[in-house]
């Protein structure tokens, strides 16, 4: 197979001959089955320039279906040393390598396994990919007994397998919820990817955003004037919809609040409407805030790369807050961004002692739970506003919306923010329905595109992974006529739009603050006849 | 090890029997079963022990408790005064109550008030054995209805089922109520049912039941013990030749304690 054939080209399909079937190998276990790089399931490698710009090793041209991946000569040594180093730096890694009992509780918790059936997508086996090498190289039993003790030789095929499967994990942590020891496959995948980076084995869909983010402050590479234009453009749309002209300050020194949101919301539909939602809300309550072009992305693809990359990209937020002299930071609706902000930012780039404990200027609520990091989630902020009656809301403006809420993996399982968004949704929509309980809150299903998998070339993989989520959406669609899926994560908004289009075309994806603003009665607004998407209100109901 | 295995097999057999509904028929046929068992015993030349009470002779010795005391001392029967919890193997009751369907308003006062020795009737068709859910009470081959206190779960179904009130339940630990414990015969624990065993432990050693022996020793001669399967036995001849009564004959329990009035 040549590297040119891509799944979206007819040439790819032509190669498959009718009736050609793989015979099943008898009795072999997974270690004996070499990975089969199937287009549609893997992501293209990183381009050299991005690695070079960001300073990662072994930039070169290669393709996953190539027999030779042009690894460094001492690749094996690099991996072993890399593992040794990480085993001594991360207790999670060391402990998770040692204590799995293979009880199988995690097996059917992974959306990729449920939707695709590939056994190596069972979380336990994903970890065994690394664990088998760990046993062979780092435990006496594995050195002596080898295969009997569950160890195996580190070969190039193993590296290929790692590449294939560690980029089929969205680090959603759903398996970790069910594991009796809390073994977190996200940690395993992060370690696996860090090791692959040492060899220059990485994917473009992550490395390009990382390089972009490093340079321009956001993953999409939006440059300052571009952001200015975008926000002004949003203001135009808002004026068209509401009759109110809102401002979007950029890099304004002395503002009280620095607002950071994922850059996807500046560019991609339907995240843009959520961004407009923020702007309306801030305007309406008169918040003294500013966007930043330097820290123009709260999202952090460094999380999908390595701890170091994460720290390098994240440093901008505090730096910018210090430069602008704000009092505290407000974060928009995003998933993995909040994993970084909640669990890593303060440790990596803190302490933020130059900031003040976030305090809502309208309600006076001090957000004590963020007293160290000094950054709060927009739904915490908005829920507090609504609770104190600071917003004039007319939920009937959302009456054509029958909404369900998708808990995004990271805010759910790395933060525990469940009630705030629900409280907001119930306040701004009259028709809110939960999906089946084993698919929401901490048991929520991933969209299938997290952790840097939301690209085009692995579309089939994503659609498979999105199937469990889509099944639950379809259930509430059929039962309650749900037609909107609200998600507070930029990746969700992008990926679930696609997933829903395939599995439940009747349901569209929206953000929380899009709905908030659609229900918000703004001072000086004209009669609201269209929503932020400039669609007539109630149009859907008539359809 | 041998007996362990046997115990295991028994348990297994018990468990297996649970699965069989076949037992359903057997409680209907319980009487027939008992009958044929008795028959077998007779055919095999087995013994069928019985007791005959001459109430008249007994009543002549007013206040005599020789048989009762002998029994209760031999078997470590506790002396509990509280009537609600008392334990008795053999005792006296007025004829009016013992023979409710034989004594009537014109029966003489002496007859009606006559104290009659009562005890377990060792029925041929004992309801207590029928109802016991664990076979803790069972009918031995030579007649006596036996109690296995090791197996008794204390459900008291037999107490409910016995028409003669012959069974006593240990409502509390009997030990403090036994004046003098005879180590030769184990007392019972609280929580099990007990009753007259026809002194089977004495019979095994060729002795007469304690009550009969005591009665003879006193010279009253009111109690006669013997084998009903032996046509030559004294008791068989006595029962054959004189009109004797058995308690609550209409219940079909076929008691093996015979009374002459």
């Amino acid at each position: 197979m040549t590297s040119e054939a891509k799944p979206d080209q007819m040439a790819y399909y032509d190669r498959e001959k009718l009736g050609q079937v793989d015979l099943r190998p008898g009795g072999a276990d997974w270690m004996d089955v070499p990975v089969n790089m199937r287009p549609g399931s893997f992501i293209y490698p990183a381009k050299e320039k991005h690695l070079q710009y960001f300073g990662l090793p072994n930039p070169r041209q290669w393709f996953p279906t190539d027999p030779d991946w042009k690894l460094p000569a001492n690749w094996k040594e690099i991996i072993i040393e890399g593992m040794r180093e990480r085993l001594s730096k991360y207790r999670s890694f060391q402990v998770f390598m040692d204590i799995c009992v293979r009880c199988g509780a995690c097996a059917d918790k992974c959306h990729f396994f449920i939707g695709g059936g590939d056994p190596r997508n069972m979380p336990v086996l994903r970890a065994e990919l690394l664990r088998s090498i760990y046993r062979r190289e780092f435990t006496q039993a594995g050195k002596i007994l080898g295969r009997l003790a569950g160890g195996r030789e580190l070969t190039v095929d193993v590296i290929k397998e790692w590449f294939y499967y560690f980029y089929q994990c969205t680090e959603c942590r759903r398996c970790s919820v069910f594991c009796p020891y809390g073994i977190d496959t996200a940690e395993i995948t992060m370690m696996g990817r860090e090791l692959l980076h040492l060899l220059g084995v990485n994917v473009n869909w992550i490395m390009e955003p990382v390089a972009n983010c490093f340079r321009t402050g956001n993953h999409l590479g939006i440059q300052p004037h571009g952001l200015r234009d975008t926000l002004d453009f949003f203001a135009d749309d808002i004026e068209e919809a509401t009759g109110v002209r809102v401002e979007a300050p950029l890099n304004r020194k002395g503002a009280e609040v620095l607002f950071v949101t994922p850059s996807g919301d500046f560019l991609a539909d339907p995240g843009t409407y959520t961004c407009m939602g923020y702007m309306c809300l801030f305007h309406e309550i008169g918040l003294d805030y500013t966007f930043s072009t330097y820290a123009s992305d709260g999202g952090n693809f460094g999380l999908f790369t390595s701890h170091e990359a994460m720290k390098r990209l994240n440093a901008k937020i505090y730096a910018e807050a210090r430069r602008l002299g704000v009092k505290w930071i407000l974060g928009g609706e995003c998933g993995h961004m909040w994993r970084v902000l909640n669990q890593y930012m303060d440790t990596m780039n803190g302490p933020a002692d130059f900031l003040q404990v976030p305090t809502s200027p309208l309600t006076g609520t001090r957000f004590e739970h963020a007293r160290s990091t000094k950054m709060i989630h927009i739904t915490e902020f908005t829920a507090d506003l609504i609770k104190h009656g600071k917003l004039n809301l007319d939920p009937s403006q959302n009456d054509h919306v029958r909404v369900t809420f998708h808990d995004s993996c990271n805010p759910a399982r790395a933060m525990g923010i469940f009630e705030e968004p629900r409280y907001i949704l119930r306040s701004v929509c009259n028709h809110f329905h939960e999906m089946p309980e084993n698919t929401i809150r901490e048991k929520t299903f991933c969209c299938g595109g997290g952790a840097g998998l939301g690209t085009d070339e692995n579309m089939e993989m994503r659609l498979r992974g999105g199937m469990p989520r889509a099944s639950a959406v379809r259930h509430v669609h059929e039962k309650h006529g749900v037609n909107h899926l609200a998600a507070m994560c930029a990746i969700d908004r992008a990926t679930l739009s696609t997933v829903c289009e395939y599995w439940v075309p009747e349901v569209r994806v929206t953000g929380i603050h899009e709905l908030v603003t659609n229900a918000l009665v703004m001072k000086g607004q004209k009669k609201r006849e269209v929503n932020l998407r400039l669609e007539p209100i109630g149009a859907q109901a008539e359809e | 090890m041998e007996s362990g295995r046997r115990e295991f097999l028994k348990t297994a057999a018990g468990a297996a029997a649970l699965g069989l509904g076949a037992g359903a028929a057997s409680f209907v046929g319980a009487e027939a079963l008992a009958r044929s068992r008795a028959g077998q015993a007779a055919a095999g030349g087995g013994k069928r022990y019985a007791l005959a009470v001459d109430t008249k002779k007994c009543a002549e010795r007013e206040g005599c408790r020789a048989c009762i005391d002998a029994c209760h001392v031999t078997h470590n029967v506790p002396r509990i005064e509280n009537r609600e919890e008392e334990i008795k193997w053999v005792w006296k009751e007025e004829a009016e109550w013992v023979f409710q369907d034989r004594v009537h308003e014109y029966s003489g006062a002496e007859l009606r008030r006559r104290p009659v020795l009562v005890l377990c009737n060792h029925c041929d068709n004992p309801p207590c054995v029928r109802v016991c859910p664990t076979q803790a009470t069972f009918k031995s081959a030579d007649g006596p209805v036996m109690m296995d206190p090791h197996r008794c779960i204390g459900c008291r179904y037999c107490v409910v089922g016995c028409p003669y009130g012959a069974r006593s339940f240990n409502w509390k630990d009997p030990r403090p109520y036994i004046e003098h414990v005879d180590p030769a015969y184990p007392p019972r624990a609280r929580g099990v049912v007990e009753k007259c065993t026809m002194c089977s432990e004495r019979l095994a050693h060729g002795l007469l039941p304690a009550c009969v022996e005591a009665c003879a020793r006193e010279g009253a001669g009111a109690l006669l013990f013997g084998d009903m399967n032996d046509p030559e036995s004294e008791i068989r001849k006595r029962v054959e030749s004189s009109l004797s009564l058995r308690r609550k004959e209409h219940l079909g329990t076929r008691p093996q304690v015979y009374y002459t009035l």
Binding site: R24, P25, R38, Y502, E543 | -
Partner: protein
């Protein structure tokens, strides 16, 4: 014929499911079959459930409008299981071979061949439906792909006043 097939229904469906699952990557296929609890693997289960229905539908000669939604469920899943379009529908043809094998013992029956051919016509009809369904789903994926790409740069395109109308229309009957 139908009676013979009816009699061997369980055997044929089982073999058909096996053949269908074979189009998975090798270890997944092995896994899907080895997991004999039908509910352990949703994908395998869906396939098994719907193939059973489809086989019965073939026996009863059910009208297409009843068959298509059930066929869609299989194809909707197989279309994204990193197999090609040809493989995604090949399972229908596999039934022919499965049936031939199942009826191999009755070869002496003279009329069998004729009726067998009749039945295979039904299978061919199903295959046509399957192609149809598959192309619909592949088309949907292609559309989605384009729309997703457009969505990614939506605000740019709006700012640049790109004409939205040439985007693929929402699928008919999707009701979105």
């Amino acid at each position: 014929m139908d009676e013979q097939l009816q009699a061997k229904r369980a055997e044929i469906v089982r073999a058909w499911v096996e053949r269908t699952v074979e189009m998975y990557p090798a270890d997944a296929a092995k896994f899907l079959l080895r997991v004999n609890d039908p509910f352990s693997n949703p994908v395998g289960t869906t396939i098994a459930l719907e193939l059973e229905f489809l086989f019965d539908a073939l026996l009863r000669d059910v009208p297409p409008d009843e068959v298509v939604p059930r066929l869609d469920r299989v194809i909707q899943i197989t279309s994204v299981q990193d197999v090609g379009s040809a493989r995604a529908v090949s399972f229908v043809f596999a039934l022919k071979e499965v049936i031939r094998r199942a009826l191999a013992a009755d070869r002496a029956d003279a009329g069998l061949l004729r009726r067998c051919l009749e039945f295979e016509q039904r299978i061919d009809a199903l295959a046509l439906l399957a192609f149809d369904s598959c192309s619909r789903f592949l088309q949907r994926i292609a559309d989605i792909r384009v729309r997703e790409a457009k969505r990614r740069v939506w605000s740019l395109m709006r700012m640049l006043k790109v004409d939205w109308d040439h985007l693929p229309a929402e699928e008919e009957g999707a009701g979105g």
